[in-house]
């Protein structure tokens, strides 16, 4: 039936770029196709970059809001895609949108912090992402996530992409547009600082600590 519609459609057929044929290839062609209005190409960019966007948002906003914000980021990207002149800058451009969206989220949320028992309990429920871990482990997971979030921006983003989203250093570099060297430094310095924070938390309080 595709062809039935193709006969009537000014833009018939499958996506101009078939990413199934080039899973690891450059994304420039996909970005160009998406700029021309090819929804399928944009869907594939989403498939490739949504994990990165999820990680960047998770490093800045509550877990329960991240999924919706990921959708917002891609919707915003789709709206503005025609303005992106250098398609090779798509990764860094998308990172900027994600960071701005997270900042915007905090700007909008802070002035309206009213306590609503029902929604607060619902959010608390959503904050526990799954039942894979015990409540103790879940609390520990939140504590570790909070510790990562306390790190400088560059370190926390790289660490969350590595430890939470399961991306490797080279993948992080490719998806964020950073150099391998930068990602490597962020990961190692971030991990070093994280170990220090977790070590402090694990140690019993002493007079020195006070």
């Amino acid at each position: 039936m595709a062809a039935l519609s193709e006969l009537r459609s000014p833009r018939p057929g499958p996506p101009a770029v078939n990413p199934l044929h080039e899973p690891g290839g450059p994304d420039d062609a996909l970005v160009r196709a998406a700029q021309r209005g090819d929804r399928a190409a944009f869907g594939l960019l989403y498939a490739r970059y949504s994990r990165m966007v999820h990680g960047i948002l998770l490093s800045r906003v509550p877990y329960s809001d991240v999924d919706d914000l990921v959708q917002d980021v891609f919707l915003q990207a789709l709206r503005r895609l025609a303005d992106l002149r250098e398609v090779s800058r798509f990764p860094g451009w998308l990172v900027s949108i994600a960071r701005n969206r997270a900042n915007d989220f905090h700007r909008r949320v802070k002035p309206n912090e009213e306590f609503d028992e029902e929604s607060a309990s619902a959010q608390a429920e959503q904050r526990v992402p799954s039942t894979r871990h015990s409540s103790h482990s879940s609390a520990e997971a939140h504590a570790v996530l909070d510790a990562i979030r306390s790190l400088p921006d560059a370190y926390r983003e790289s660490l969350i992409l590595r430890l939470v989203e399961g991306m490797t250093g080279p993948e992080i570099a490719a998806r964020t547009g950073l150099t391998h060297g930068s990602v490597r430094v962020n990961l190692h310095r971030g991990m070093f600082q994280l170990r220090e924070i977790l070590g402090r938390k694990a140690s019993p309080p002493t007079g020195d600590a006070l």
């Binding site: 039935l4 869907g43 989403y46 929604s119 992402p129 894979r132 997971a141 250093g169």
Partner: protein, 385 residues
């Protein structure tokens, strides 16, 4: 850590390798953190886009700001806007949060929620308004009903939003989970948006399932359903099913009583790139396993194959279901729409003009021109029959 503890440099390098690209000896501490944090990882979720994307305003604000008259113009605009807002809020009717058309919601089991509010068992039917979302967890089920539409049962772990409800169109968005729909509204009235296709009721009962990755499966038990995405359409009559995947859209529908080899070949054909050996092998299997009943799948294959493949499909299809009067081989190979429609109608699986009507009326603002085209197309189908 499997390295020699007396060799700290080597140990450090391997740990660094693991942190960098997960190669080398795993660092137990990093592994523990990975496991601990895995629950925060992104769950594959399809991108849901509105039908029309408003484009962002072009960047001319910088130019505006440099204009000498801009501050005065902005001040005047602000005053007009303030007056307008004041007038609007003073004259508008008072807002009633539960006003407007709504569907009845019943709690079938557990604690389904509309937004964050739980639907109590004994409270009588709750209302689902346009824009509201109903969510069921692992232990809850709910049902939606509307007198001139039908009934929709919502299985556990589902998330559904009411998008539109008016005389001509009832539309919901199923983000995840399973619904069972029994619809008595006129064909084409009830529409379900999913992350990977739009399901259009053509007079039937069916089950629609959306997986966390956005892919979907539709099984029809009565009547037939159209599955549509980006110009790709699949028709699923009673007894048949069809899968759909994000970005790719609906696959080839098939009857559930087809042979396992046939069903497997359909899945392989749908997922294989064009010109690949796997696709070619799948097509060979489909054609050899096809029964007359499987003309459903062969008809869809006609328009999803290359010209050489189409000739093979035509030969097998024509052998199983001879083309009706007015349908020629060359017309089918050239994908003549009216001939394809005639052949579809001869299968007795549904009247395709119903679908053509939906296609035309689905346009947000159908022009008078498109209505004329529709009437022309319908009368041409009638004439040919």
């Amino acid at each position: 850590m499997t390295t020699n503890p007396t060799d700290p440099e080597k140990e450090k390098m391997m740990t660094e390798n693991y942190l960098w690209d997960a190669s080398g000896a795993p660092d137990p501490e990093i592994q523990r953190l990975e496991l601990l944090l895995a629950d925060f990882r992104q769950v594959d979720r399809a991108l849901v886009l509105p039908a029309k994307i408003p484009t962002a305003p072009r960047r001319f604000h910088g130019l505006l700001l440099r204009m000498p008259w801009f501050p005065r113009l902005a001040a005047a605009a602000a005053i007009v806007l303030a007056l307008g807002v004041t007038l609007f809020f003073s004259l508008r009717p008072k807002f009633a949060p539960d006003a407007g058309p709504a569907w009845d919601v019943a709690n079938l089991e557990g604690a389904p929620k509309i937004g964050t509010k739980t639907i109590a068992v004994n409270q009588g039917p709750a209302k689902l308004h346009v824009g509201q979302t109903i969510v069921t967890n692992a232990d809850s089920r709910a049902s939606l009903s509307q007198s001139d539409l039908g009934e929709i049962r919502i299985d556990p772990n589902s998330r559904l939003r009411l998008v539109q409800t008016d005389a001509n169109r009832k539309r919901i968005q199923l983000d995840a989970g399973t619904i069972h729909a029994a619809i008595w509204a006129p064909p084409g009235t009830f529409v379900v948006d999913t992350p990977s296709a739009v399901a259009i009721d053509l007079g039937c009962a069916y089950t629609l399932q959306v997986a966390p990755d956005g892919s979907g499966t539709l099984r029809t038990t009565l009547g037939w359903v159209g599955f549509h995405l980006n110009g790709r359409d699949s028709f699923i009559p009673a007894g048949a099913m069809c899968s759909t995947r994000p970005a790719l859209g609906p696959g080839i529908p098939y009857f559930e009583d087809a042979t396992p080899a046939f069903r497997q070949a359909i899945a392989q054909f749908d997922s294989s790139p064009q010109d690949s050996p796997a696709r070619s092998a799948a097509l060979t299997m489909i054609l050899s396993e096809a029964r007359a009943h499987d003309a459903l799948s062969l008809w869809h294959l006609l328009s999803r194959t290359t010209a050489p493949e189409r000739a093979q499909v035509y030969a097998r299809f024509a052998a199983l279901v001879p083309p009706p009067k007015g349908v020629t081989r060359s017309g089918i190979l050239n994908l003549d729409q009216s001939m394809l429609d005639l052949w579809w109608n001869s299968l007795g699986l549904g009247e395709i003009s119903t679908w053509r009507y939906w296609e035309q009326s689905a346009s947000p603002q159908p022009s008078s021109n498109s209505q004329q085209l529709l009437q022309k197309k319908q009368s041409s189908v009638q004439d040919q029959r």
